[in-house]
Amino acid sequence: MPKRRYLGFSLPVLVGIIVVILALGLISLLSGALGRSFFGDIGLPGWLSVPQPHPELPADVVFHLLGFPITNSIIAAWLSIIILVGISYAVTRRLKLIPTRLQSLLEATLGWLLSFCQEVAGEKNGRRFFPVVATIFLFVLTNAWLGLVPGFGSILITNAEGETVHLLRGANTDINLPLALALISFIFVEYWGISSLGGLRYLRKFANVGRFFRGIGQLLRGRLRAGLTGIFNGAIDVFVGVLETLSELIRIVSFTFRLFGNMTAGEILLLIVAFLAPWILALPFYGLELLVGFVQALIFAGLTLVFATIAVTHHAAETA
């Protein structure tokens, strides 16, 4: 009769592994700030303790290139660009009918993204929106997950002014990148709306003065009641148009701050948890950050998709 195996290990080995993990957890608790405030300094080696974090919002400049200051988050964004373009190029250089492992990973990812787009936007529009939406998703995801790799926030370098700054920082934590992505998403949503419905008809959503002026015309022609209802409904239409314009513009701000806030809050959380209880006890928060990165990428791409779908569908009631 085979011995009972737990998770692939026999019982003594499993107990041994759990004891080792608990011991490491205890050491990590003792060496962090929490342990030091409870038990005082019990003489653990200096390399076990983490210095107090000083999170700061603007990204630090590392060097200057052609007059532009290159910050550490720009370097991280370049790194994720290199990774994404590199993987895509390596896979598509020799496509095989029976795919290799990397090719099937890429195929699975893109297939899932395409089905997501088509589920939300319909078949034709889904395929049309797919490139931009998938790019936004993959870029935000790579930036978010790359920020968790060891080396981000710990490698120090001395820049031209002589300050010691971090070499790499998660690209989504600099507010300029979410702002750029939000602007791109806004421009593309408007472009898709105009190219689907025709320029004037799409822009009429924002400046719906037709009924208002028709009401004035009817009033001048002497039809009092029709004129007044026309003017009243027309005024409501104009007001709704202004609200629509404002909501389009507020959308840019909302996208930016949603992504920036989630990523920065996650980074500060990881810094503080690593300061309080480094090593093992900080691992669940890394898991949380993985999840948050994935969800935020999905939200950004998904909301772009939803707003694009709304923009290209015909107005249900144009002339009530």
Binding site: L57, E119, F257, R258, F260, G302
Partner: protein, 78 residues
């Protein structure tokens, strides 16, 4: 009360009070989604997708409060 004390108080209040609304909102969204799922387990896909979408909107408001708290505590605002 000196400025430092009021700064700490402001940061705490901004985040604390700003988290009440989104917290309750996300709870209500989850409640609606659970009810819908219970009535019609086959519609799991669209229900989950729309629930995640609505939760993202509600959570963004909480994030705005966090931004204000960070700005106040970091002496960038006020």
């Amino acid at each position: 009360m000196d400025a430092e004390a009021i700064r700490m108080l402001a940061a705490g209040l901004a985040m604390g009070l700003g988290a009440i609304g989104p917290g309750i909102g996300i709870g209500i969204i989850g409640y609606g989604a659970m009810q819908a799922l219970g009535r019609n387990p086959e519609a799991r896909g669209p229900i989950m997708t729309n629930m995640i979408l609505a939760i993202a909107f509600a959570e963004a408001i909480g994030i705005y409060a966090l931004i204000v708290a960070i700005l106040i505590a970091g002496k960038i605002l006020g």
